[in-house]
């Protein structure tokens, strides 16, 4: 089976690779690039644990092939902390107890990132809609909503 050459940016770094067409984007990120933050929960597109941003949009990386990311800009939870410091969103999750086992957390961070990049002052209902996309088995979700609310607050304060 011929390998397909791809060139893409992941968390700001450009990579060139040759991949099997069937290589899922989730496996490409985790195994070919060693970026372990993106987790795999179901591989049939229901749980949202594997969510990454592709050209600014939240997508389920288990439902994309790496070849489809050719020429795209992908962002994962691995890239959120900058210069050794947690991002405002990560700090908010920490402050508001937005995680217990941490397995769904990267996916939640990425849907939150998409939301906050499109809308710096989301309503509670808008945050709830985003959080409803993904499954969490530990928290019951409420603290995740509060974490995103807190993050929006912190980012507004930081912007001042």
């Amino acid at each position: 089976m011929a390998l397909i050459p791809i060139s893409l940016k992941v968390n700001g770094t450009r990579f060139e690779r040759a991949v099997e067409p069937r290589r899922l984007l989730s496996d490409f990120l985790r195994e070919d690039l060693g970026l372990k933050a993106t987790h795999v929960g179901c591989e049939h597109g229901v749980c949202g644990t594997c969510t990454v941003l592709m050209d600014g949009e939240a997508v389920r990386s288990c439902l994309s092939f790496a070849v489809q990311a050719d020429g795209c800009e992908v962002r994962t939870a691995d890239g959120l902390a900058q210069g050794g410091k947690l991002s405002a969103l990560q700090q908010a999750f920490w402050e508001k107890h937005g995680l217990q086992c941490g397995f769904c957390t990267p996916g939640m961070l990425m849907v939150a990132t998409e939301l906050l990049e499109r809308n710096a002052k989301p309503t509670k209902a808008e945050i709830e809609e985003a959080v409803s996309s993904n499954l969490c088995r530990c928290t019951g979700y409420y603290n995740i909503v509060e974490s995103v609310q807190r993050a929006a607050e912190m980012m507004q304060e930081g912007a001042k």
Binding site: F93, C101, G102, F103, T139
Partner: protein, 828 residues
């Protein structure tokens, strides 16, 4: 202490004295604080190091071929095409694996034998039939597709009552008996017949608890490496029980524990389902040894849903509750048929679990249980948050509501009349277990206060006037914590009870290094509970140091001490005991050394703000770091004798704080799960009678988990547990059709609630009745809301649909099921 006893249990010497060293206090510096979790930063940055994140050099990947049928003999397996595929290192059938590896670990007596790959027959859809090791998981699955299996179908049994009369080829384990009954035994605790004869009213119900399961977002995995020169296995795994009975995996693999090291990983949720993942470890080890390279076997979601060996209880109850006309409960007797699936790894431990709080919070005088455990062609049961007692919680609440209806009493008032009163603790229940402390009326009143019940009543009444179906439900339930090992075997036959273990300890090592940093070793893994944060807060309290001075280390089985691990809401209580025990030794030494350094009497010294100083003399003090440096390096400046040996470290094994043996005749089961939490849940729901859809309008959960170490993390378990309880009550079921196919075999059909299905908020309150038996009076709370939600929701839906005469006696109450109940009511 004065205690309450049932008549059939002799009071004299029944309750051992308390071993509590640290009594509860009015205020603490670190305990009770909402400390941000120590675990979080590395999880937030993606550096958790879950099992799937670990990469070993030369590592190969395994996939299993799963059976597509529920019950069949394996006549022939042809692996030749699979072996020939490029990139495949090894293909192994069950028969081949059996030559190298024995049966997997299990705790039933007599045993029900299971192998990591099915040998001569498959007993449920999804059971592993063969395994492939290849250069990556894609190729391994391609190879699985090339394996040809010839099956000879056998009769399938999926109905638990039908399993009782199975015969011939329908019997899953013929070596165990002529039918599919794994165990059938009746237990009587107290004068049941007498109590029923004297009763005014007997309420009867048939109740069906559907099969759901933990389904954490992370599946089970193991990376096994085998070093052929030394014959030693090293395994990374997300299992618990490693430092408890992990060596059993070595037994399966035919190696002594000295040739086995199990290394725990951060785990992406368990809720019981990763208690002891022996099958995955045994399989990975077998494959690594045969393939000659490290092998990662990570279940995918299909592997896990069909074959995780940890489905929850699957029970049919026929119950009778005897009461006096004034609503006071006298006796409860029931028959329970529990469908364990194809194997029986924990025996009837989930019923031992039920018996520890079988009267709930009520003053019921006697209990009789006829227990029938059956085997069917389904994935076997394991552990799921509650381990069986969440089911009897639901059963008791259904019976209480049924009694209220029959006696035309308010369900809240009926419960009030039956609650064990604050002055009655410690309270020994008919099965022998003890409830250590509690104030159930206070929990109830607090829940009603938070809910503002008159407001809820008004909402309901106004809605009903407009023709909408709104209802209120309540559950007052127990949450036991800190299981004793006796629950695993005390219900087995007394002639052959199996391995009658009575130890379930937790251990820690505390070591202060020359700089004063405190290193605390845990022998149990992180499950999403907060073991590091709990340990840090308790250690900080013990030494009065800033939490940042404490470092948590996880021990593998080579270096770890007896540690039973999380489960049964035990971990915080047990690690507190271990830390207090180890800290005492280290603190005593710190006082000795600093007393010598400052020429002060040990009795005049105190721990304050990271220092040790003379009481009442602010300037006369040394930092713990200064004392530690001295203790490590200046032996000749300290007196002779072992008490001043170089260093500052201690190990401590903390055994169960309060457990006793069952009676030889099993007229009671001793004390086995006494650290007793309690909860009151209230639900306000609206039901659409035409579609059967249920919306939860409001929800209140008040919990008593004794002294609370971190209210924020406890509330997390209450809410998260309630979410799972909502799933169990309304959405989740492993549904097998009559041919044994698992119809709900993916996340598209096994429906885990999203935020959209949750109530707008779960309003949490708490009450604290500290335990007299544990350190600081802490009780467990990790199983949380799942223990109470099904009862509250069942009643709320019943209440909402009262005009249709609906009874919610079967879970899950899916829209289809609710509509069915309404339809039957419309016809009446």
């Amino acid at each position: 202490m004065t205690a309450t006893f049932p008549k059939h249990i002799p009071a004299e010497g029944y309750i051992p004295p308390s071993r509590q060293q640290e009594p509860p206090r009015k205020s603490y510096k670190y305990i009770g604080q909402n400390l941000k979790r120590v675990e979080d930063p590395r999880l937030l940055t993606g550096n958790g190091q879950y099992i799937d994140d670990i990469v070993l050099p030369n590592m190969a990947h395994a996939a299993v071929l799963r059976s597509d049928r529920a019950h069949a003999r394996i006549k022939r397996i042809d692996t030749s095409k699979a072996k020939a595929l490029a990139g495949v290192y090894l293909v192994l059938t069950g028969a081949e694996a059996k030559e190298m590896t024995g049966a997997t670990a299990q705790f039933a007596s007599p045993p029900v034998v299971q192998y990591c790959l099915a040998v001569d027959r498959v007993r449920h859809v999804g059971e592993a039939v063969a395994a492939v090791v290849a250069e990556n998981r894609y190729v391994a699955e391609d190879a699985c597709d090339l394996i040809e299996v010839e099956y000879q179908d056998l009769p399938v049994v999926v109905d638990p009552e039908a399993a009782m009369t199975s015969s011939g080829d329908a019997v899953l384990h013929p070596e165990r008996g002529p039918n599919n009954i794994a165990q059938h035994r009746t237990f009587t605790f107290g004068p049941v017949q007498e109590d029923f004869a004297k009763a005014d009213v007997v309420v009867k119900r048939t109740l069906r608890w559907g099969r759901s399961g933990a389904q954490p977002l992370e599946t089970v995995g193991c990376i096994a490496a085998y070093e052929p020169g030394s014959g030693k296995f090293t395994m990374h795994t997300n299992s618990s029980f490693l430092n408890y009975v992990g060596w059993l995996v070595g037994a399966s693999l035919g190696v002594p524990a000295s040739k086995l090291n199990l290394i725990p990983c951060v785990t992406g949720g368990s809720f019981g389902s990763k208690l002891f993942t022996h099958k995955v470890m045994t399989l990975a080890g077998t494959l690594a040894r045969a393939a000659g390279r490290p092998v990662k076997y990570l279940e995918d979601r299909l592997d896990n849903i069909t074959s995780c060996d940890n489905h929850g209880s699957d029970r049919l109850y026929r119950c009778e509750l005897a009461l006096k006309r004034d609503g006071t409960m006298q006796s409860l007797r029931f028959q329970v048929i529990d469908d364990y699936g194809a194997y029986f790894q924990f025996g009837v431990g989930t019923h031992g679990n039920s018996l520890c709080q079988i009267v709930g919070p009520y003053r019921i005088n006697s209990i009789q249980m006829e227990l029938i455990a059956v085997l069917t062609n389904k994935c076997q049961q394991g552990a799921y948050r509650g381990f069986g007692s969440e089911v009897t919680n639901w059963m008791l609440e259904r019976m209480a509501d049924a009694a209220a209806d029959e006696l035309k009493m308010d369900p809240i008032e009926l419960r009030r009349r039956n609650l064990i009163q604050p002055g009655q603790f410690p309270y020994v229940i008919p099965s022998g277990n003890l409830y250590d402390s509690g104030n159930y009326p206070a929990v109830l009143e607090e829940a009603l206060r938070i809910a503002e019940l008159p407001k809820w009543n008004k909402i309901r009444d106004e809605a009903r006037a407009k023709g909408r179906c709104v209802g209120i439900g309540i559950a007052t339930c127990q949450e036991r914590s800190v299981f004793s090992a006796t629950e695993f075997w005390s219900l087995n036959g007394t002639e052959n009870p199996g391995f009658t273990l009575t130890s379930s300890p937790e251990s820690t090592q505390i070591r202060i290094d020359p700089t004063g940093a405190i290193h605390v070793t845990l022998g149990s893994p992180f499950w999403g509970n907060s073991p590091e944060t709990m340990a840090v807060q308790i250690v900080a309290e013990q030494f009065q140091v800033d939490p940042s001075q404490v470092n948590i280390v996880y021990a593998d089985t080579q270096s770890g001490f007896n540690s039973t691990g999380p489960g049964g809401s035990r971990f915080t209580v047990m690690i507190a005991g271990a830390i207090v025990g180890a800290a005492k030794q280290v603190k005593d030494k710190l006082l000795r050394v600093s007393g010598h350094m400052m020429e002060a009497d040990v009795g005049d010294l105190e721990f304050r703000a990271g220092k040790i100083g003379v009481k009442g003399v602010p300037g006369k003090e040394k930092t713990i770091g200064e004392v530690a440096l001295f203790a490590h390096y200046f032996r000749l400046n300290l007196p002779a004798g072992d008490a001043f040996a170089s260093g500052l470290d201690a190990n401590y094994v903390y055994d169960h704080p309060l457990t006793t043996m069952p009676a030889a005749d099993r007229s009671h089961l001793g004390i086995f799960y006494p650290i007793m939490g309690h909860m009151c849940h209230l639900a306000l729901v609206e039901v659409d009678p035409k579609t059967g859809k249920v919306a939860i309008l409001d929800y209140v959960a008040v919990h008593d988990a004794g002294t609370v170490v971190n209210p924020m993390t406890l509330a997390g378990h209450i809410r998260g547990g309630t979410a799972q309880g909502i799933g169990t009550a309304l959405y989740e079921k492993f549904h097998y059709d009559e041919t044994g196919q698992l119809v709900t075999g993916t996340f598209a059909d096994y429906l885990i609630p999203t935020l959209a299905e949750m109530p707008p908020a779960i309003r949490v309150g708490h009450v604290e009745t500290p335990s007299p038996f544990t350190e600081y009076g802490i009780k467990g709370g990790g199983e949380g809301g799942r223990m109470g939600a099904p009862g509250a929701l069942s009643r709320a839906i019943e209440d909402a649909l009262s005009q249709y005469g609906v009874r919610c006696d079967e879970l899950p109450l899916t829209p289809r099921k609710v509509r069915e109940l309404v339809r039957a009511g419309e016809k009446r």
